[in-house]
């Protein structure tokens, strides 16, 4: 059910579509081959901090699509087809998945990524987020723990079964009535780790909310996590594999992706803390050599590229040190390697020790504890706390 705010947003996006269309018609009628100019955003650069001028929400130039290059016209063709679909969705207030859109012109779109790019272009052009276009993706993320919420009138009560996985809602803007008794949010990279925690009844023994994006997190997972962090003001921790891909997933949660840099302000989670797995954990937790996998040349190249990202130098230099340590050691390992000692080692020892350490020594700990002390039964109804 659409609220007033949603309706106004929809009307505003439709107005921007007419503005964009009018502008193209004027250009064509003036004999100009310029069609549209799309702001270019990026979430990081690889310059030194002195030369870095990355700022969230500010574009780094424009992609000007003209009728002078085939690549431009091809991109424009896809963009306009997608825009036409979106206009119809908004007019009729219906929703569509990106996959549905792909199958509307599969011979033209050739690949899902082509549609994704067009949607990103349209978001930039219309200065909105993807959900404002009534475009949704199939939910991929899972959640469990001390949480209760509603989505478009449907109630999700994880409290009754805190160790059972629930799908993260796709229409996050429809999520209301969030209630929690958790002390923190734990984000895990992989579904296998999520299931390990569920089997170990981790949430019964720890007042927390556990979320996984099952690899690279999709937009609803990131938006949902961001909503929880914003609304509940809980500390959020992230556990990923000790390899460059795990680290990249960690940065996606915290800083946003390059593709959706234009919407990073709504998708990034600056409060997210990295609790492992660190390269140093292999010694600290006495992992045998058999559990350590040598970094491939591709891993090394990717790690070196990660180390160049400006936001690591600027905001989390200690993450960078850990990443560099992995590169120096030349080995990586999966979280599951911790099971070498005991299958529940992760739930019984590793995570509790890491989280306790963060909660007692983290600089934000005081703030979160004060919230926690009055947090039992905290409810957010979509308009504010009650």
């Amino acid at each position: 059910m659409e609220g007033n705010r949603g309706s106004l947003e929809r009307i505003e996006v439709l107005r921007k579509i007419t503005e964009l269309t009018r502008s193209m018609i004027v250009e064509l009628s003036n004999g100009s081959s310029k069609m549209i100019a799309i702001d270019r955003f990026k979430s990081y650069c690889t310059n030194s901090l002195e030369n870095c001028c990355c700022r969230f929400n500010l574009s780094e130039g424009k992609d000007v699509l003209t009728l002078q290059r085939e690549s431009h016209v091809r991109r424009l063709d896809v963009l306009l087809r997608v825009l036409l679909i979106i206009q119809q969705l908004l007019r009729e207030n219906r929703h569509s998945s990106k996959r549905d859109m792909y199958y509307m012109h599969p011979s033209i779109f050739t690949d899902q990524s082509v549609v994704d790019r067009a949607i990103n272009d349209i978001c930039i052009l219309l200065q909105c987020s993807r959900h404002n276009l009534n475009v949704v993706s199939v939910g991929n993320g899972l959640v469990m723990g001390w949480l209760r919420f509603s989505e478009a009138g449907r109630r999700f009560d994880c409290l009754k079964k805190p160790n059972s996985a629930q799908f993260i809602p796709v229409q996050v803007e429809e999520v209301t009535d969030i209630a929690t008794a958790a002390d923190y949010i734990l984000v895990v990279e992989k579904e296998s780790v999520f299931q390990r925690l569920a089997n170990d009844r981790f949430c019964s023994r720890n007042r927390c909310i556990v979320i996984t994006g099952r690899g690279y997190p999709d937009v609803p997972t990131r938006r949902f996590l961001r909503l929880l962090v914003d609304v509940l003001a809980l500390p959020a921790f992230c556990l990923v594999d000790c390899d460059p891909y795990g680290f990249d997933i960690l940065t996606t949660y915290r800083f946003g992706s390059m593709q959706m840099a234009y919407d990073a302000k709504n998708l990034r989670i600056p409060q997210l803390q990295w609790i492992g797995a660190f390269a140093s954990d292999s010694e600290k937790y006495d992992l045998p050599e058999q559990c350590l996998i040598p970094l491939t040349s591709k891993d090394k190249r990717r790690t070196e590229a990660l180390l160049q990202r400006c936001y690591l130098r600027r905001e989390v230099p200690h993450w960078r040190l850990e990443l560099d340590s992995m590169l120096q050691r030349g080995v990586k390992f999966e979280i599951e390697a911790l099971s070498v000692h005991n299958i529940s080692f992760l739930s019984d020892h590793y995570l509790p020790s890491k989280i306790e350490s963060e909660l007692t020594t983290g600089k934000l700990i005081g703030d979160y504890q004060s919230i926690h002390s009055t947090n039992m039964g905290l409810v957010w109804n979509g308009n504010g706390m009650s």
Partner: protein
């Protein structure tokens, strides 16, 4: 019976603003491999002399059969009222006499001529040369001179006798003159007369090639005359009458021209002119070119006479950026009398015809020199490119570059999407405004009308882009907000290498 006609050409002015035209004598320009080779070479010389004279001239070719001789001979007389000739011109004439030609011609030419550029001399020199002899050792045999009897004139007559059918000779000469007509040289009236009975019993009284020029042709540039002459040539497939099955309408023929000059010496400049004629194929199955045949013939003139195709000329053609004009060259074939360009992705919906004229021009008063001209491939390529550009500028939509052709294929889809964005909008004011911008009335809001209008505008923009010199791009404007950021043109796919699956 002997039947002879003559064309009188009026008001001859050649050159302008003190710049006179003349032709440097080139002895290796024409090298037809036919049996008529010496005849055509000698006709070419006569044409050059006429052009050099800068006066109204007459060129007559007379074929007289002598049935009494054994074997029967045809006496060919080539006479012109040009500026006379010098002995070197014939002494240095390279005329390969081999094969069947060696048996049909004894190599002897009789020359009667006045001096070059001197109409007030009193004598007409007469001599004979054996062109079968080596050029280095070739010596004239002087014959008694004739007296001019105080009449002021200049000219040359060259005679030779060959054992050949008049029909064969006439066909060759006829074809040659039709090619010469492409240049529409305004100061030469040309005639070909055949006198006598042929072996078949038919009589070839006269073959007349007339110069159909109006007075304005004298003031037209050589390039304009080349274009006009080539159009006539294409219309008749090389004959004097228009082919009605291929060209029911002259409007179906479109042309463009290009010229480049290069100052080689103080006295001369090298000029290359090219004309491109494109004929739309109205009936793809019923035309003289053959169904599905889109090959292009390229004719080549050097110093005002048809020239056989050399490898250098072929290289010049293959060096042209055809893709910029929507054509992909598969190969260029030397067909001796013309080059044949074969295109990829044929058949085209039109036929392209090209002619190139390469000549030297005197820029100051000077005596014509005997000089060989080497082909400058770059100049030829440039002249043809300019002709193609000129064509595009005059005829929008033709010869779109390969890139713009690809772009234009998107026009219907783009138009459909934009029209959809207009017509499906609930905002009636917006709809009305868009229709007005497109120049449509409110009642013209049917999808097809709006779509077609937008498509035309897109195509028009693409065609305009195609006419713009390469490298010039428009600077794009901004949408929604003022440009605080530096504009940057997008170069192909950006960010694609950064694509991650995380945004699914």
């Amino acid at each position: 019976m002997r039947f002879e006609l003559e064309v009188v050409v009026h008001g001859f002015i050649y050159g302008s603003a003190g710049v006179s035209f003349s032709i440097l004598i080139c002895n290796h320009g024409v090298c037809f491999s036919s049996r008529s080779l010496p005849t055509l070479q000698l006709i070419s010389s006569a044409i050059r002399r006429c052009i050099c004279s800068e006066r109204l001239c007459r060129l007559s070719v007379l074929l007289q059969r002598s049935p009494a001789s054994d074997p029967p001979l045809v006496r060919i007389s080539i006479s012109d009222t040009g500026h006379g000739s010098c002995i070197q011109e014939f002494q240095d004439l390279k005329c390969p006499v081999e094969g069947i030609l060696a048996e049909t011609w004894d190599g002897i030419v009789y020359v009667r001529t006045t001096k070059i550029a001197d109409i007030s001399d009193t004598e007409i020199s007469c001599y004979q040369l054996n062109l079968k002899e080596n050029v280095a050792t070739r010596k004239p045999m002087w014959l008694p001179s004739n007296i001019k009897h105080d009449v002021k004139f200049s000219g040359t007559e060259v005679c030779l006798s060959v054992s050949e059918s008049v029909d064969v000779l006439l066909a060759e000469i006829n074809c040659f003159f039709h090619q010469i007509l492409i240049l529409k040289v305004p100061n030469i009236a040309m005639e070909v007369v055949a006198d006598g009975q042929d072996t078949s019993g038919s009589r070839n009284d006269a073959v007349f090639l007339e110069n159909l020029f109006s007075g304005s042709s004298f003031t037209a540039s050589t390039l304009d005359r080349l274009k006009l002459g080539f159009e006539d040539y294409v219309l008749g497939h090389g004959s004097s009458s228009t082919c009605n099955s291929c060209f029911p309408n002259r409007d179906e023929l479109k042309s463009g021209g290009g010229m480049v000059c290069e100052d080689k010496h103080k006295l001369t400049k090298l000029v290359v002119e090219a004309a491109v004629v494109i004929s739309e194929i109205s009936n793809p199955t019923k035309n003289c070119f053959g169904a599905g045949c889109s090959d292009t013939k390229v004719l080549f003139f050097k110093d005002f006479v048809p020239c056989t195709i050399s490898e250098a000329f072929l290289k010049a053609l293959t060096g042209i950026d055809w893709k910029r004009h929507g054509l992909t060259l598969e190969c260029a074939i030397n067909q001796r009398r013309h080059a044949l360009l074969k295109w990829e992705k044929t058949p085209l919906s039109f036929h392209i015809h090209i002619v190139v004229h390469y000549y030297q021009k005197l820029v100051a008063n000077a005596t014509p020199l005997v000089q060989q001209t080497r082909l400058d491939k770059k100049l030829i390529s440039k002249a043809v490119q300019l002709a193609l550009e000129d064509f595009k500028n005059k005829h929008a939509g033709f010869l779109l570059s390969v890139d713009n052709l690809k772009i234009s294929r998107f026009a219907p889809d783009l138009a459909k999407a934009i029209a959809g964005l207009v017509l499906y909008s609930n905002d009636m004011d917006f709809k009305r405004e868009c229709l007005a911008i497109l120049g449509l009335q409110p009642h013209q809001s049917e999808g097809e009308v709006v779509e077609e209008t937008i498509k035309k505008k897109i195509i028009s923009v693409i065609e305009k882009n195609d006419q713009r010199p390469q490298g010039i791009k428009e600077v794009a404007c901004l949408l929604f907000r003022a440009g605080r950021q530096k504009l940057q043109d997008l170069d192909n796919e950006c960010y694609m290498d950064d694509f991650d699956p995380m945004d699914l």
